[in-house]
Homo-oligomer: 699 residues x 2
């Protein structure tokens, strides 16, 4: 790589240095960063992460300095090498699943083993019998079988019941025939399938004696264990480049009548009895909803941290970047203003900063609720109406447990939280101005890699239908006088009791009223939708937009409520200095009032809040909160404790040496600068010189 | 490349084929696509584009099939080869600037000659003297000098006055010394600088005898004309990968006291007199505002077309993709529903479709106004107060010409139009579900390449300050009884006359009222902001968020007004069938009512519209328009006339063969499938096989 000439090395950025500016920022605030971080993550985990970071940084294969420069093949090659080393380290250091995950988070890019290590192992573990654990799981845990979870197809994603791959039971030789009758039956998007896997859990329509029993999981070997070439009558490969996630080998897979033995159908919940050739119904299908609820709660918690990376980068850079003088500044202060001082920047970044904490507390709250409910649920679950498919949440009796409520809430929150994080990251990137567009910002690739989360584990728009179905059902139960005992029915009942009197919530003066206004809006929208559906008999399709609004309103209420509850839990807040709690309380109010103001129209039309209150929220309360939070912004992002190595961002460096880092990457790491163009159109030569080193030799 | 086995080739997608579905779509609508397209683009231009397309498709260098698979170096290598061939073809076929541009649009990716062909030539032409044209422009037009326009620096983008590069006049030897005193003075982001240019127009602070005269343009040779290596004391290179635009060599550039002759300062407007060593003031600086206004009007027009690409792709795919049954569908219709039939998809795509036409008509309107004004302006321009810098638009007398009004409007529209296009493309990508994330969707890369437009030619947030400054000034002139004669002062005067009486616009029943409601909102927000600034003496900084809202409101009013005016111009609409005009009118109403509903809060609080009207707009009018426009959606995107070759999208194919195309690209074009992994963690081998062909040999 080229090195800068001496006269360039001698140059420094003009004006106050980035390091000085960030020091000043940190000096302006008394926020106890260490204490807040320990409150959120615990001291043990912060120390553990430091330990793992050191191990990873000592390994050349995890060097990140060429990440942004590599093309897809080189990136996936590096990711494969990293995946291998990560597995070796996991064995070497006897890392737990949590420690392995912490290492993966620090590396911050998927490897081709990603779906093996998650969905393949989990599915074998949860859906396999002890015999199948012996046959498949043990080898999979030893990375002899490397697998994936093949559900989505070229023609079907959201609609799992529409999958086209078939598994036909052959009663004569006690086998299944796996087949792809159409091109659209090709498995598609399957992580770790494209290049890495030699096995797949394939979701296929089970047919016994001509009757379809719906999608079921089958273990199928797809590649030779020695040559790693596809087995006969199997067509498998990588689907190609994507907007992000390009270190993962998402794959396609087609079968031409491939036979597998009876034992390859995962049989913990439902199975084919080989002696009678009969289908045996699932014993406990609602467990699936528990898992989905847990996964979605995790997404909510992660969304806060995903967004916090972008907010950390943008906040630090906007404190270092100076542009224009303040128009009203006195002549005695001639310097340029830190970009973070402009209200137009604050209004974009600070509500997102508040959202990171709001999502953190909400995710925590959801996971606690989930765990509490698990105990109850294991002793008392509803029975599905139709055993050929998993039951909808509405088929579970809400009177006996909170699962249906938790499930609906997790759907609503997953949709809103992942959308907030994805769109928020793009706001952060743009708040960095032109430099946000550079790969060195570290936000663009992070955004691109995160984007699939808005589609997977339930498409965010699809999920809103499940939420609304649940809310309508709850509203009907309230009107019928037979409500379940949970928070949703509580707010619906309160609304029904008061709706003729009306509300006049003091959202500026009272936090309780602020939360109540969000609850009132959800209830109003629920009964509006119910009227359209049950009285006006409007079609389901014509109400999808209303359902989406309703689900969003419900999620926003849950976030505001969870954040509020967390700050009013004396055992929790006792661990923090009073000033910290006061500051978190300001973030709560900023999140709530800024959301209220953006969604003003629904707060008006539901008569939850007066026009006057909303105008005050916008012009006074929110602006005042921005001003009050501003001095603490850098410390508030510091509390998320992202190491520079993880962020891999010039703009987000903890020390503020933004420009030095950008210049170093451009002029000394960029392989394109080892090439000299022949720029004249008539010349057939493209490069006069090409001194690039072969990157592969460095892995 | 691998070829699919015979049994895979025999597979077809299930159900009705994409080709059948799109044929049905086109059969459902009577829209005269050819006529509408000719109305928008003219027959001559459509035929010209066809002719150019054939020429490009015949050239192997323009083959797009490997575009999505290449890493950055291969992409920029291909782009260099394409740029060369494009220039050869331009000479060969004697293409005009417009024809060259049409070819570039079809190729749809920047080449390293991009900024040479635009800003470098334009700046030399417009700011050079005849002597300088002879010295620099002639060689530049012959591609002997290849150049760029080096303004932005590592530390300064928006604030041009803060640039740090210096050009010091040496009276002894009549030269300038160009120097970069700080690292932050490095030119940065400069297109065509990184690898291609041998010359640069460098914007540098002119110093004469210790006094700073502000930024001025200097022609500087930076690379050797033979070896193409940097000249002594110049450090130049490519800045590295970006979120998009990776076929362009955006560069950095540092100078260590490089001397250039007197003639290298572009001297058409201002210059240094070498005999007196005195600065000579610019003769006609307001011309610069004319050019900027024109460039921004072009961005508005382009934004419609940029967005239309995404809407075309998403609409066609959502007509081919089927998922779930309609919940209320009768048992006699068991098939899955086209995704485009779901209202949740329609509410995302159809307002964007309406926006493409709205932006088209607005851009056209702006360019017409600009041209009309050019004549007036050339005979009568304001004089700047301070000749060391270009004047602000408020320094031009609005009474003598429309330039200030046009300038402000072009700022507001540039900001809103480019934001609408960029964010709309992302909505289109997500409306494609999971497959939108694949590079084969063609939307992701297009979005990523377009994104810089929200920052360049005036950062979208910064521009809103200029708009508001103008609106405040206009409001003051109205209150003082000395308003200029233009549309802005007209609506402000009407508001002042009626504001004590109040408005009650019938936005559902009357188009004129609908436009008037948008005008009322702008006026209300203008006088609100004026009161905060002039009476309450609020700081400029505290009003930035209000200014941004105000500018957005102004832009939305201009779009609604332009669209409305275009549809009520009898000479224009006479060229169209009445059904087409009716359909365009529905798009106008959809754009206006959907915007009104999303911004409901401002329409309430300004008392322009009642809550009842907005609720009706949302629940009735907009939903009804979606239903009425739905059958024509595919034909409406067809009218934008994008050839498949330009879109380069599996999902957006005109013939609907979506799944076949995706599968072909994944399994037969994807170079990663020429590689076989060694997937076992303990093995040091990464690839068991690597049969990739060297892509470079194909260029």
């Amino acid at each position: 790589m080229p090195s800068n000439p001496e006269w360039v090395k001698a140059l420094k950025p003009s004006g106050p240095q980035g390091s000085e500016l960030l020091q000043q920022e940190r000096a302006k605030s008394n926020l106890n960063v260490g204490q807040l971080a320990e409150f959120m993550f615990t001291k043990e985990i912060l120390e553990r992460n430091q330990r793992i970071l050191k191990i990873l940084q000592a390994e050349p294969v995890f060097d990140k300095s060429q990440n942004y420069f590599r093309g897809r093949t080189s990136r996936i090659e590096a990711a494969l090498a990293r995946g291998k080393r990560l597995q070796q380290l996991t064995v070497e250091h006897k890392w737990t699943q949590d420690e392995f995950q912490a290492a993966s988070d620090l590396i911050s890019e998927p490897t081709p083993y990603g779906l093996h290590a998650s969905m393949f192992l989990v599915t074998l573990r949860e859906q396999g019998t002890p015999e199948q654990h012996k046959l498949f799981l043990e080898k999979a845990e030893a990375y002899q079988y490397i697998g994936c979870y093949a559900q989505t197809e070229l023609g079907h994603g959201s609609n799992v019941r529409g999958l086209e791959t078939t598994a036909v039971w052959n009663s004569d030789d006690k086998t299944f025939t796996i087949n792809s009758p159409y091109l659209t039956a090709s498995k598609w998007w399957i992580g770790s399938l494209g290049k890495a896997a030699n096995h797949a859990v394939v979701m296929a329509q089970l047919y016994i004696n001509g009757k379809n029993y719906g999608p079921h999981p089958f273990v199928v070997q797809i590649r030779d264990l020695k040559t790693h070439e596809p087995l006969p009558n199997i067509h498998v490969g990588d689907i190609g480049p994507k907007f992000g996630y390009n270190t993962m080998d998402n794959g396609f897979l087609l079968f031409k009548n491939v036979k597998i033995p009876h034992v390859n159908m995962l049989a913990r919940f439902s199975r084919v009895d080989p002696s009678t050739n009969k289908y045996v119904r699932p014993s406990n299908p609602s467990l699936v909803y528990g898992t989905l609820t847990y996964v979605r709660s995790t997404i909510v918690l992660q969304a806060g941290s995903v967004l916090a990376r972008g907010v950390t980068i943008a906040t630090r850079y906007c404190a270092v970047r100076r542009q224009f003088q303040d128009r009203d500044a006195p002549a005695s202060e001639p310097g340029e203003n830190q970009v973070l001082n402009y209200t137009m920047v604050q209004i974009r970044l600070l509500p997102l900063l508040a959202a990171t904490y709001a999502l953190y507390f909400t995710g925590k709250g959801m996971i606690t609720l989930y765990q509490e409910n698990q105990k109850r649920m294991n002793s008392n679950v509803g029975k599905p109406a139709d055993s050929t498919r998993a039951p909808g949440p509405e088929e579970l009796n809400p009177g006996t447990d909170l699962l249906a409520d938790l499930h609906a809430t997790s759907c609503a929150l997953k949709a809103l939280a992942s959308t907030t994080a994805a769109e928020g990251l793009e706001v952060c990137r743009r708040a960095c101005g032109g430099h946000g567009y550079s790969s060195y910002s570290g936000i663009g690739s992070w955004y691109a890699d995160y984007l699939p989360t808005v589609t997977w584990e339930g498409d965010n728009y699809m999920l809103t239908q499940q939420v609304s179905r649940y809310l309508l059902k709850s509203a009907r139960s309230v009107l019928a006088g037979k409500p379940a005992d949970n928070d949703t029915t509580r707010i619906l009942k309160e609304f029904v009791a008061r709706r003729d009197i009306g509300a006049a919530f003091d959202v500026i003066g009272s936090d309780t009223d602020l939360v109540a206004a969000f609850a009132w809006r959800v209830s109003f929208l629920t009964f509006e939708a119910l009227r359209h559906r049950d009285e006006d008999k409007q079609s389901w399709n014509s109400l999808l937009v209303d359902f989406w609004r309703l689900s969003t309103a419900h999620a926003q209420y849950m976030i505001v409520k969870n954040f509020h509850d967390a700050l009013n839990d004396p055992t929790a807040t006792a661990q923090l200095e009073p000033d910290t709690v006061t500051l978190l309380h300001k973030l709560f109010r900023l999140y709530a009032l800024h959301t209220l103001e953006r969604e003003a129209s629904e707060f008006y039309s539901s008569a939850a809040v007066t026009v006057r209150q909303i105008t005050l929220a916008r012009t006074k309360a929110v602006m005042k909160l921005l001003e009050e939070i501003r001095p603490h912004t850098v410390r508030l992002v510091d509390a998320w404790k992202f190491p520079d190595w993880q962020l891999d961002s010039s703009l987000g460096r903890y020390d503020g040496e933004v420009y030095e880092d950008m210049f170093h990457r451009a002029s000394e790491l960029n392989p394109l600068n080892s090439i000299v163009f022949d720029p004249y159109p008539e010349s057939k030569v493209l490069f006069k010189k090409d001194d690039r080193v072969d990157l592969r030799s460095k892995l």
